[in-house]
Symmetry: D2
Amino acid sequence: VVLSLESITLPEDMPQIKGYDFNQGLDHKALLQSFLTTGFQASSFGQAVQEVNKMIEKRLEPVQEEHESCDSHTSASGCTIFLGYTSNLISSGVRESIRYLAQHRMVDVIVTTAGGIEEDFIKCLAPTYLGDFSLKGKELRQQGINRIGNLLVPNDNYCKFEDWLMPILDQMVLEQKTEGTHWTPSKMIHRLGKEINNPDSVYYWAYKNDIPVFSPALTDGSLGDMIYFHSYKNPGLLLDIVEDIRRLNSKAVFAKSTGMIILGGGLVKHHIANANLMRNGADFAVFVNTGQEFDGSDSGARPDEAISWGKIRMDASPVKVYADASIVFPLLVAETFAHNANRLIKEKKSD
Amino acid sequence: VVLSLESITLPEDMPQIKGYDFNQGLDHKALLQSFLTTGFQASSFGQAVQEVNKMIEKRLEPVQEEHESCDSHTSASGCTIFLGYTSNLISSGVRESIRYLAQHRMVDVIVTTAGGIEEDFIKCLAPTYLGDFSLKGKELRQQGINRIGNLLVPNDNYCKFEDWLMPILDQMVLEQKTEGTHWTPSKMIHRLGKEINNPDSVYYWAYKNDIPVFSPALTDGSLGDMIYFHSYKNPGLLLDIVEDIRRLNSKAVFAKSTGMIILGGGLVKHHIANANLMRNGADFAVFVNTGQEFDGSDSGARPDEAISWGKIRMDASPVKVYADASIVFPLLVAETFAHNANRLIKEKKSD
Amino acid sequence: VVLSLESITLPEDMPQIKGYDFNQGLDHKALLQSFLTTGFQASSFGQAVQEVNKMIEKRLEPVQEEHESCDSHTSASGCTIFLGYTSNLISSGVRESIRYLAQHRMVDVIVTTAGGIEEDFIKCLAPTYLGDFSLKGKELRQQGINRIGNLLVPNDNYCKFEDWLMPILDQMVLEQKTEGTHWTPSKMIHRLGKEINNPDSVYYWAYKNDIPVFSPALTDGSLGDMIYFHSYKNPGLLLDIVEDIRRLNSKAVFAKSTGMIILGGGLVKHHIANANLMRNGADFAVFVNTGQEFDGSDSGARPDEAISWGKIRMDASPVKVYADASIVFPLLVAETFAHNANRLIKEKKSD
Amino acid sequence: VVLSLESITLPEDMPQIKGYDFNQGLDHKALLQSFLTTGFQASSFGQAVQEVNKMIEKRLEPVQEEHESCDSHTSASGCTIFLGYTSNLISSGVRESIRYLAQHRMVDVIVTTAGGIEEDFIKCLAPTYLGDFSLKGKELRQQGINRIGNLLVPNDNYCKFEDWLMPILDQMVLEQKTEGTHWTPSKMIHRLGKEINNPDSVYYWAYKNDIPVFSPALTDGSLGDMIYFHSYKNPGLLLDIVEDIRRLNSKAVFAKSTGMIILGGGLVKHHIANANLMRNGADFAVFVNTGQEFDGSDSGARPDEAISWGKIRMDASPVKVYADASIVFPLLVAETFAHNANRLIKEKKSD
C-alpha cells in the first residue's frame, strides 16, 4: 500500500503475542503464565506477577544485620510491603487471600478504610451472603438487609458487632483514663484483633504478627456509629491520628526497599503512596483498580502520575491492572505469595 | 412483525424525548433545560437540577422558631445540605464553584479529604497550571513538577505551603499545651481558614460562615507530611477524630431534613452517607461521579444501594449523574444555587 | 521540605487553573468559556470547542476554484467534516443537534449504525419516551416496551415503521429488477430520507443537502429484520458494500483537509478513522465517548493511537472528551456550529 | 443500634461469601471454583461458567432426529452457540482460545468485525508484538509501527497481507464474472479461510468445520482498504449483505435452543442479539465487556435491557462479566469448553 511507511525492525527479544493453546490440555498454571503474552490486561496481570515476585525476591534477600538490632527503626526485611485495600474487598471473599498474607506475615504494613476493619470482625460473628446487584433498595431496607454490590449483609450482623464492641470500648475508655493509654486507630485495630481471637480474622493475624494496620478515618463506618453512640453513655475516648502518621511514615522512611500493593482507590491508595513519598518513592508498585484517569482523581491515576510526585521511584517499573480485584487478586496471590509460600514461611519462622 | 408483542399505552404525562432545537437560536438556559428530555446522562443532569432545587426550596421554607433557639442542636435551616468532594476538585476550577457556595452559606456541612483542604490553601499561595494527562512522570519529577490528571503543581507551591503552615503548627501545639485546646481535624481546618484570610479560599469562607468542614484522615496528604516533620521539631500535637464524628453525626441527627451533594467517591461519599444513616436516611441526594457498581465499591454504588442501608430515605428520589464533576458541577450550580442566588443570599442575611 | 526537588519555572503563557466565579452573575456563555481553565474533562471540552472551531475556520476559507468544477472528486469545502455517532444518540435528544447540522449542511459525511438510521425514521412516526435505567426487562417485555438505557420505545413504533418501510422495499426491488439500480446502504438511506419527507428527520436533510450517509452493516437492526422478512415475500434485493467503501474513501482522499467528529465507539469510530487513513490522516479530530483504552478496544483508544496508524496527522492536536455525548455534544454544537451559524449558513447558501 | 430494622431470615441455601483459602495449598481449579462465592465480578465469572456449561449440556443432549435430515434448516445441535468478539481480541492472545473453539466445532456461528477477520490472517503471515499503552503515536508512526492498546503491529505485516490478498480478490472478481458467484461477507471469509490453509487461523477452522462467520461491515478495515485499491485495478466486485442477514437470522430461527457468548460491544453484540430477537430470545447468554449502561449504548447495556427487546428469553439467567476479556475469556474457556473437551470433541466426531 502506498500509504504505509516502512516499518523499523523490532528488537528480537520483543515478546510476540501468543495466547494459551488448549490443545496442550488444561494446565491452569501454564494458562496463567500465557497471560504475559496475551496482551491488554492479561499482559498487565503477567507484569503484576513479575513485579510482586520482585518484591518477594528482594524481601528474601539476606539482610546484613546492621550494627545493632537495637535500632528499632530499621526494617529487618529486604523489602517492606505495604498492602492497601478498600472495605468492599473485606466484605468479599478476597478477605481470605488477605488473611493468608497477614497470617504468614507476607506483608508488613496494612492500610484500609473503616469498613475494611469492621467487616472483618463482623464476618467472624455472622456470614455475608451472595445476592444480586439489581435487588431493590427499598425492599431490602424493609427486610433489614444491607447491600454491598452483589453481597448482602443482614442488620443482625451489625447488632452482633455492637454487642461485641461496646464492652471493649468501655475497657478502652477505662485504660485511657486509668493508664493514660494514648489511643490511635492503629492501636485500636491491634486491640480489636486481639479481642476477636479468631483465626478467620485478618486483624487477629495482624495482631499476632505485629503488622501495623492504619486506618486514619476509622470513625467512618459502623465503628464510628458505635463510638458515637458509646460516647453518650461513656464519654471521653480519644483517637489521635498524629501518632499514626508518624508511625506509618517511619515504616516507609526506614525501609530498605518498599513495595506497594494497592487494591482499589481513595484513601488506601493515596495514604500508602504518600507515605512512600517520604522516602522519595516506592521501589515496586502494583495497583489493581477500575478507576480511570480522565476525571483527575487520585483513584484513577496511572502509576506514572505517582512518579511525578516522587511516590514511586523514577527507575521503577510499576504496574496497574485495570480490573475488579475480586478476580485478579486471588490469581495474583496464587502466582506470587502462594507460589513462594515455602520460602516465605520459612523465612518468617527463622526471623 | 409477528414477533412483536403489542405495546401497552404509556401514561400521557410520560415525557417524550426531544433535544434542543438550535433553529430557535442559541439560548443556553433553554439548552440546559432541554437536557431533561434529552435522555441518558443529560436527563440525569436535569433530574439532579430538580433534586437540588428541592433541597433549596426546603431550605427556604420558613422554619417555625422552635421554642428556644438556645437548643443549639436543632438546625435553623429547613434543609441541612451536606457537600462532599474529593481533593482533585479543589485542585481544579470546580474550587471556585465550591467557594461560592461556602461564601454565601448555601451549604451547611462540608466533607472532603486532606488534599481537598490543603490544595485550597496552596492555591492562595501560588497557582496550579493546565498541563496534559500524557506528560511523562519521570521528566516532570526531574523538573520538580507534580501532576494531577491534566493539572500541574510545582514543588515550590508546597514549599510555600510549608513556610505558611509551620508557624501555625507551632502555635497550635502551644495552645494545646497552655490552653488545653482539644484539636480535631474540623477545628484545625477552621483555624487554617481563619489564618489564610483570603477570600479566594473555600475554608476562609467556611470559617467566616461557621460551616464545619470534616476530614477525618486529615493527615493523609501534604498536611500530614508537615505534621510529621513538625512533630520531630516540636512534638505533642494531637488530632482527635472522636469529637468530630460526634459533631458530624449530630448535624445529621438534629437536621429538619437533609440533602447530600457528593462529587466523587471514597471517603467523602461514605462519610456523608454514613452520617445520614444516623437519621434513617437523607431526604435528598445527588451523586456526581464516574464510579461503577460492578466492583462492589462504595464509590461506584448507585443511590439505590444506599437506600438498602438507610442512608437515603425509602421515599426519596436520589439522582446519580455519571460524569466528571468538572463539567457537570459548575452547570449544576448555575441551574440551582446561582439561579436562586437572590433568594438564598437574602435568606442568609436575614438569619 | 527536604524531599522536594526544586521546580523549574513554567512558561509564562501556561494557563492557570481558574473556574467560573458565580459572583459575576450567571452568564452561561462565560461559564462554558471558563471550562478551558477548569481542568480535567472541562478543559478537554474547552479544547474540543477550539478543535471544532478550527475545522469551521478551515471550512470557511475561500477555496480557490480549481480549474474546473467538473472534477467532481475535489471537495468544494476547505475542510470536509466527517460526523459519526452511534444509534443511541439518535434515540436520544442528541438527534436534534445532529439534524441541525445536516439541515444546514454543516457536515459533509455521516457514518452511523443501522439503529442510527432507523430510529430517526421511527421517531417521525411515533415518540420515544423517558424511562429509567432500572426498569425490569421482563415487565417491559410483557408490556411490549423496549428499553434503550433510560429511554423507552413501544413495540407499536416498530409496527408503524414496518408499515412505512415495506412498500418502499417493494419499490426498491422493482427498480433493481427493472432499472438495474445497484443498491448500496448509502443509496438506500438517501432514498429513505427522500421518502420520509419530514423536516424532523436527519436523513431527510441529508437527502436534501446531498450529504452521503454510510452504514455498511445496515442490516444490523430493525431495517435488517424488515429486509429479512421482506425477502421471503419478495426476494432479490441486494445491498452492496463495495461501492460504498469506494465512495467513503474518496470523500477522504479528495478532501482539502478533513475533520472527524465522532460520538461513541465501535464501527462509527473505526470507519471514519479508517477512511482518513487513506489520506494519511485527518487534520482535525474530536472524539466524545466513555470508552477506555485498557481493554485494547478501538472504541476506547485515545487519539494518539490513531496517530500511530496514520488515521490522524502527526502534527494534529486531536481531542478526546471522556463523557456521555448527551451532555457534551449539545454544548459543543452550541459553542461551535451554532455560534458560527450566521457565517456557516451564509456560506452554504452562496455555494 | 436503635436505627437498624430487624433482619428477615435469609434462605438457608443462600450462598455465603467465602474466598479461596491458600492454606489448603495451591489448587488452581479449586481457586477458580471459589470465585462463585467470592462476590463482585468473581461471582459473575462463576455464574458465567455455569451459564456456558448449561449451553454445553443442552448442546450434548441427544437430538431426536426430526423426521428427515433433509430439512437443512433445522439445527442438528441441541444448542446453537453464537460467538461474537471484537477485532482487538483476535489481535490479542484470546485468538488462540477462539481458534480452539472453531477447531473443535464447539461453537456454531461467529460474528466479528472486519478487523476480527483480517488480523487473524495477518497473524499467519507475521507476528504481533507486546508493547505498551503509553508509546507515543508520532514516534510509532515514524517507525511504521501501529499500536492496538499495548500491542504493536508493523506496517510490513499489512504489506504481506496485501500481497496475499490481491490475487485472491482477482480470483473472486473472475468467479463473479464467469460463474456468477454472489459474494457476501460470510462467503468471502469462508474463501479466505480456505486460502490461508493454516491451522493457526480461526477462519481456516471455520472453513473446515463449516462454521459461518458473519461480518456485515467487512469493508471497515484493512480488507476494505485492499478492496478499495483493488477496485481501481480490477473493478466490479460486489459484496451483498442481504443474503447474509437471511443466513444469520435463519441460524437463530431454526435452532432448538441458542446461547450467546459475546466478548466486547458494538456491532458484534448487537448483531447476535438482534438475530436472536428473530426467535423471541436466546435461551442462554454471557456478555464479557467493559461497557457501562449510563450512556445508553448498546455496548454497555445489561442483559436485562435485551430481555425487554425479546433478544433474551424472559426466563433466562443471562450473565454479564464486567472485565477485559483477555483475562476472563481464557479462564472461562478453561472451566467450560476445555473442561468438557472429551465429551464435546467426541460428540463432534460422531456427528
